[in-house]
């Protein structure tokens, strides 16, 4: 017991308006899906939150037909200025229901309420606001005159940022004039189905957005569907490759936002305390369930001891526990399966000889939790330096010179993001230039904005989300 123990400060779970049953949203209505119902679980308590009726392959076809009808009859004919107003409405409604969405997201996903409240939900609203404005300005996007939508977009999103990834997908698709069939992740379908309610509230024409809860097989049948013109996927590189294979040889346009193993490079002249913050934010934000997580810390050898001492002190202050507690920094791992994967990789790190340090923070008895862990003495050849752990586990490697830092940072098939910490401006720009990654954060980390394109090099995928560049993914250009 410390002398200043923060009393529990839980957000009320009643705000989530949790319902016992949720259903797929097709053609503007909530309908009974004919798939096997699933039970979505609160990963912090392992209790069942709700039963979710899922879609079957036949429902995929119904949803695609609804999207096609909406595209042909309404959405593709509507002037951009009118489409924009629907998007603005949706943005406002997300803001109005932000507390409900935040609490529900934390319940279903396990992420701390302060993150769902301060990051996920407001950024989701921002994406709709931003893209709303594009709907009638596409001629100015630099993609040629009068760019045309693709048609029906099939979108598959992961469980790490359920609502935010939905916004990243749906907002640009609708702004450019496409209609959507979206499949949320199996373990986190709830906020997407509340979003469906928001579409109803906004009086979005039926069929423009369809939401199909289900497992991977439903995603696969959406990808395969002959009448889908566009596939957008965010998730693991393995599944991304399967989808790319499935789509091969068809006319479907594809964008993939896949895994990463980002290097966060700290030079000896870095603003160290803020570098520590950036490292912590980079790997422990959202329990490390972030594709662009700074999971490899590359520290210059001359400062590695000082940096590690500061880092351990800082990580020790992270509070792990009830995601609904406003003071929780680290919530629950999203599923038992993911927790097992993290544990497996951590074991490999130990057996391969890396030095493990784990925060002494208390671990709740129930639920899926994993205490923040830092591995030092990690080498490029170890699995924890190469494989995406997707959990609160940092691998610390060292370098001596800028060239070595670049070589090690780029020594991965991934290329989603990277971090640079130095106070030398020319070195920042040189490093930013050398790093093969779609997003480079210098003296900061994990910043996201709808105006700033996001996406990867190499096996981290292709296509961008956000900014003018992001529109390209949904236009026939």
């Amino acid at each position: 017991m410390g002398i200043f123990d923060y009393a529990p400060a839980p957000e009320s779970r009643a705000i989530a308006n949790l319902k016992p049953h949720y259903r797929p949203f097709i053609g503007g209505e909530f309908v009974d899906g004919s798939g096997e119902p699933l039970k979505t679980v609160n990963p912090a308590t392992e209790e069942v939150l709700a039963e979710v009726n899922t879609a079957s392959t036949a429902d995929v076809d119904t949803a695609v037909k609804a999207a096609r009808r909406a595209y042909d009859r309404v959405w593709s004919k509507m002037p951009g200025s009118e489409r924009a107003k629907y998007l603005f409405r949706i943005a406002r409604l997300i803001q109005e229901r932000s507390r409900e969405l935040a609490v529900l997201e934390s319940l279903d996903n396990g992420k701390p309420i302060k993150e769902s409240r301060d990051s996920d939900v407001p950024t989701a609203a921002a994406h709709f606001f931003y893209h709303a404005g594009w709907a009638d300005k596409l001629d100015y996007a630099g993609l040629g005159p009068n760019p045309k939508p693709l048609g029906v977009a099939g979108q598959i999103i992961p469980w790490n940022f359920p609502l935010l990834m939905l916004a990243w997908k749906i907002a640009p698709a609708l702004a450019t004039g496409n209609t959507v069939v979206l499949k949320p992740a199996e373990t986190t379908p709830l906020t997407a189905l509340v979003f469906a309610e928001i579409c109803q509230q906004a009086e979005l024409p039926p069929g423009v957005v369809n939401i199909l809860p289900g497992a991977g097989d439903i995603g696969a049948s959406l990808v395969e569907h002959a009448d889908v013109n566009k596939i957008a996927f965010t998730g693991s590189t393995d599944v991304g490759k399967l989808i790319q294979r499935q789509v091969a040889g068809t006319a479907k346009k594809l964008t993939l936002e896949l895994g990463g193993k980002a290097a966060n490079v700290v030079f000896e002249d870095a603003p160290l305390d803020q570098a520590v913050e950036g490292i912590v934010n980079g790997i422990f934000f959202n329990q490390g369930h972030v594709c662009c997580a700074g999971s490899r810390l590359l520290a210059q050898e001359s400062i590695v001891d000082e940096l590690l001492a500061k880092l351990r002190h800082r990580v020790s202050t992270l509070r792990m526990g009830d995601p609904l507690d406003k003071n929780t920094d680290i919530g629950a791992i999203n599923s038992a399966e993911q927790l097992a994967k993290i544990k497996g990789l951590v074991e490999s790190g130990e057996s391969e000889g890396a030095q493990r340090w784990t925060s002494p923070c208390p671990v709740p008895d129930k639920g899926f939790f994993f205490a923040p862990t830092v591995f030092s003495d990690v080498h490029q050849s170890m699995r924890i330096a190469r494989e995406e752990i997707f959990g609160p586990v940092l691998s610390v490697l060292t370098f001596r010179t800028p060239d070595e830092a670049v070589t090690k940072a780029n020594n991965t098939p991934y290329g989603l993001s990277a971090g640079i910490w130095t106070e030398k401006g020319s070195r920042i720009l040189w490093m930013a230039n050398q790093l093969r990654a779609g997003v480079v954060w210098a003296n900061t980390f994990n910043r996201f904005d709808p105006t700033a394109p996001f996406g990867g090099y190499q096996e981290s995928g292709f296509g961008r989300e956000g900014g003018r560049t992001g529109l390209e993914a949904y236009l026939d250009v």
Partner: protein, 329 residues
């Protein structure tokens, strides 16, 4: 959880020799400059974001009560007006002793802070209470006078019985890069303080950058300041959370390198309980739990105390209180 009360600070600066790296830093002007300029930079956006993030901590119930009492016990109840009189100081001393006369369990404040010419009055009024008298000195608030006069100013305060001296650094010299001069002056004043504890006011509002705040913090710690203090309260901006973060980080790092505990005092602009609790959260999470004592953390404030008292009543009574229920002094 119990609030500690103010007694004399437990450690005194510069009792043990510094580690070689830090000794070397103060060898001469050039070494000092090299050392201070070699400190890691502070990224403005990063530190402000961290401070804003910590400020979202939600402190409720028992934790809040503890924080309120701890904050009261950390207050340097201050009057630093041209219009200050003996009567005003005696009234303040009375308030310091019994912040909330209706609630005798309310902790005393840590110190009463006055100008040197009123220190004797404050000492007399607080005799036997355990509440220290702190006196500003060294040509407060601008510090624009000669070292001789600054030393004489300190002597007035110390001779009057002040247990704590709040000096201002020469910001002009600091901004001109004459770190050695600032260092020597702090050392001379520390020597003139004798047993009195020295708080070194950096006047961070005039230093303008966090890099400067970090350098000035280290400079003051190297020169023997027992506390580093943000501001005089006469310059805006005075205390801010991110500035205090940088200073808390400095005393944390100082402790890591030397084993010595030095204190931090934000002053000026902290008016509400909510603010005070945010500062305590910062102390807790940036410096560490051991700084959560009046020996190592103070609030330089006047109106803050009444808001703490109001909130204390609200917590205890279960309904909101009003300004008529706390005393105006």
């Amino acid at each position: 959880m119990t609030a500690t009360t103010a007694t004399s600070p437990q450690t005194s600066a510069a009792e043990t020799p510094l580690p070689p790296a830090l000794q070397d830093a103060t060898r001469d002007d050039a070494s000092l400059r090299r050392f201070l300029r070699g400190l890691p930079g502070v990224d403005q956006v990063g530190v402000e974001q961290r401070a804003a993030g910590l400020a979202t901590r939600s402190i409720k119930k028992a934790a809040k009560l503890w924080a309120i009492d701890t904050a009261i016990s950390m207050v340097d109840l201050t009057t630093l007006e041209g219009a200050d009189t003996h009567g005003k100081v005696r009234a303040l001393a009375a308030k310091a002793k019994r912040p909330d006369p209706d609630r005798p369990d309310t902790p005393q404040v840590a110190a009463v802070c006055v100008y040197p010419d009123l220190a004797a009055t404050a000492v007399e009024a607080l005799e036997g209470t355990g509440i220290n008298v702190a006196s500003v000195a060294t040509g407060f608030p601008s510090g624009r006078t000669s070292l001789d006069i600054k030393l004489a100013d300190v002597k007035i305060a110390v001779d009057a019985g002040a247990a704590e001296v709040d000096m201002v650094i020469d910001r002009g010299a600091f901004l001109e890069g004459r770190y050695g001069q600032v260092f020597d002056e702090i050392k001379a004043i520390k020597a003139a303080c004798g047993p009195a504890h020295l708080k070194v006011i950096l006047e961070t509002g005039e230093l303008a950058t966090y890099d400067n705040v970090r350098r000035a913090s280290w400079l003051a710690l190297l020169a023997g300041g027992d506390f580093i203090k943000t501001s005089t309260g006469k310059v805006s901006p005075a205390a801010t959370l991110p500035v205090t973060h940088v200073m808390l980080q400095a005393v944390h790092d100082w402790h890591a390198q030397t084993g010595e505990l030095r204190g931090v005092k934000p002053a000026g602009g902290i008016r509400t309980t909510k603010d005070a609790v945010r500062y305590l959260v910062a102390v807790h999470e940036v410096a560490g739990e051991q700084w959560l004592t009046p020996h190592l953390f103070r609030f330089g404030a006047s109106s803050l105390l009444n808001d703490l008292l109001l909130q204390r009543r609200t917590q205890a009574d279960g309904h909101y209180s009003g300004p008529d229920y706390v005393t105006v002094d």
